[in-house]
Subunit: 390 residues, 2 copies
DNA sequence: GAAAGTTTGTAAATTGATTAAACAAACAAA
DNA sequence: TTTGTTTGTTTAATCAATTTACAAACTTTC
């Protein structure tokens, strides 16, 4: 049944509102909080003193007077605790520790060759432990762990299906919570990337956005009104498998003409093999060639940009998001992709949705997933107090 | 700023929870409400007596004892007020009056030939007035008016753009509220249809669904977690203009190979013109031919069903909804469309999203939009008390 | 530089909706 | 007839917010 209203809930609501305001607009005075929230000064005073007592907020001295008594400024204590975020890739593990504002304080990276499940989990655990052992002295220590995985997870943090790891039904959240004794959140890498860009990167300006991650395949994370959209049972959309050519190349997914057959790293490298007649080219190599002005490479990126544009037009027409953020490994080819991509978007998308739309490339680069994972952990930490009412 | 918590909010939350429970599970006793909500019996008693006073709830006598005192059963008073819903079509207006449960008590239909704006609004006003004048004696009378329009509206009920009516920037909500003095809600016809099927039709079982309306073109309404998804600035998705063939037929929207070029009434009739060599065939005529076993007609519907399937696979892969409801005028050809459609879905969609998905045809037929419009009005009436907390 | 007016933040009294506890009424089962 | 259960109300206690009042600190104005 729904949450009912009582005094306890009321206080949680207000405390959460005050906390959010201090987190995002500090330094700020009690009077200013009262004005912005509509709460009385007395209530704000009382809630703030509890937040100070719980070490999440500090007083940092007086600010400028506006014609009366000087305000006492409050600051969010971003070092009251730390979060660990992990990008669990198919060939690598990246793990970072951030403060409660998402500022990185430590980082661990390893390569792996996709060993058996338990070995990989052991590697993962080692990475996390290494960071956890170096956590700075603080009120709450490590407040939680977030993991971005190349696959699907359900709400209980079970990895349902991660084809490129060869995993199916792995209760990763439970395993890690047993190991470390702190809250763990598991989600898809594109979802994590979307949250990363939304919180700390190119997407902070919009309440809703679609993040498109272009690496080996195409992944997407959709944020609607500040909240990650998850499809039924934890599977969010797989826009990479939307067909842009219904009678096109068959895809292993069962469909034909899937977008990611035309606009992914794999598509690019397959094309490159044809064009250059060399078997194993890499993206870095193509970027270097493009930098040198190599016509073939430039043509390849131009073509890729156009195909990206075609799928992005579909996203625009279907979702009408205020912003689209392009990330993933191929986002580093922004210089050559952006122009053809925008040209296709300009020409083909519906005028009304397009009017206020912005297409941006990732600001966090390879770190969007890890930082999103940290954000999961931080959000969970604050969600104990966070409640929303509309 | 966000809503803050105070005693008034607390009461609104609880009253709304109790009201919702009585609306959807009546007859129900106070004790049972207390048990299901977690509120104390005292609180429930107090709230219920206020609801009874406001005429929204009635006591209807004692129920069966479960080994003690007999419970007094409470009933939602669905005739405490009435809602008016309108389907404003390009060639017709359908308006209905329902009780607060969405049961139709009166209906008005007229045809029109798309006259100038002010004349059509006058027609619309006449339809509404005709219903409003016949409202049964009740506590609240007409509680609101909902309108489904063939175009886009913003949150303030301005019709931003309705190409087939030739309207742009019409403040319809304000005009009607000035005229009738009660709350008015304006939204897209597909959004209304989605809500109609969700509340009263084929979609009651799911918290989220995608409604696909196939008439002249293709419209869609997306409901996520009991809530209608609207894109930025009131434009929701136009999935009809997702391309299924990036190098296909050019569409007037600027894109190429749009789904609705292959899978709409217009597409069907264009094909029919080719096949039969007759210029102006109608859908009803084709359905009659199909009923008679006409091979050409059967082939046309089969082809249409497959193209519908292709777009629906895209919806499944992109949104992963638990249910897809197919409505609009062509939904009446379910008998011939369903088979080829499901066959394509079965063959082409990703196994994971598909696993628990259901594809259903409309239960309300031509009435999904009007009933959805009524639901808008009813929801607005109850939203004065309705608050959700998570 | 004194008076007047502002702004900040705290303190005390009041309000009001919920909970907890007690209870009366109505009923079934032993 | 007794016992125990269920329903719904009454009463007192609780507690977080509001209202009101006020002290402290500061700027502006004359």
């Amino acid at each position: 049944m729904k949450q009912t209203g009582d005094l306890h809930l009321m206080k949680r609501i207000n405390k959460s509102i005050v906390m959010e305001l201090i987190r995002h607009e500090s330094p700020i005075s009690r009077a200013s909080i009262a004005e912005k929230t509509g709460l009385t000064k007395a209530t704000v005073s009382s809630l703030v003193s509890e937040l100070i007592e719980s070490r999440l907020v500090d007083e940092i001295g007086a600010g400028e007077s506006r014609g009366g008594r000087k305000p006492m400024l409050l600051l969010f204590n971003r070092t009251a605790g730390y979060a660990i975020g992990v990008d669990l890739g198919v060939t690598y593990i990246t793990a970072v520790m951030t403060d409660l504002n998402g500022e990185i304080v430590n980082e661990v990276k390893i390569q792996h060759d996709n060993p058996p499940r338990d070995e990989l989990i052991a590697e993962l655990t080692r990475c996390i432990r290494e960071l956890a052992e170096r956590v700075p002295e603080s009120a709450y220590g490590v407040v939680g762990i977030g993991i971005g995985i190349p696959g699907f997870a359900d709400e209980e943090g079970n990895v349902l299906f991660a084809p490129n790891l060869g995993w199916e039904h792995v209760p990763l959240q439970r395993m890690l919570e047993d190991e470390f004794g702190i809250p763990v959140v598991i989600d898809n890498e594109a979802n994590a990337g979307a949250v990363g860009e939304k919180e700390f990167g190119a997407g902070t300006r919009w309440p809703s956005l679609v993040y498109v991650s272009i690496s080996a395949g195409i992944g997407t994370g959709i944020i609607i009104k500040e909240e990650l959209y998850r499809g039924m049972s934890g599977f969010s959309g797989e826009i990479g498998h939307v067909s842009i050519q219904h009678d096109g190349k068959p895809c292993r997914c069962g469909n034909a003409g899937c977008w990611e057959l035309y606009a992914s790293e794999k598509a690019l490298l397959d094309e490159a093999k044809e064009v250059y007649g060399q078997p194993r080219m890499k993206v870095d190599q193509l970027i270097r060639l493009a930098e040198e002005g190599d016509a073939k490479a430039l043509a390849l990126f131009d073509r890729l940009g156009r195909y990206l544009g075609i799928g992005i037009v579909n996203i625009i027409n279907a979702f009408n998001p205020p912003a689209i953020i392009i990330g993933g490994r191929l986002a580093q080819a922004e210089a050559w992709l952006k122009q053809p991509l925008l040209e296709v978007v300009e020409r083909r998308s519906l005028p009304y949705p397009r009017a206020q739309l912005e297409v941006q490339f990732s600001e966090l680069g390879v770190r969007s997933t890890v930082l999103g994972a940290c954000s999961f952990a931080i959000s969970k930490f604050f969600s104990s107090t966070k409640v929303s009412v509309e």
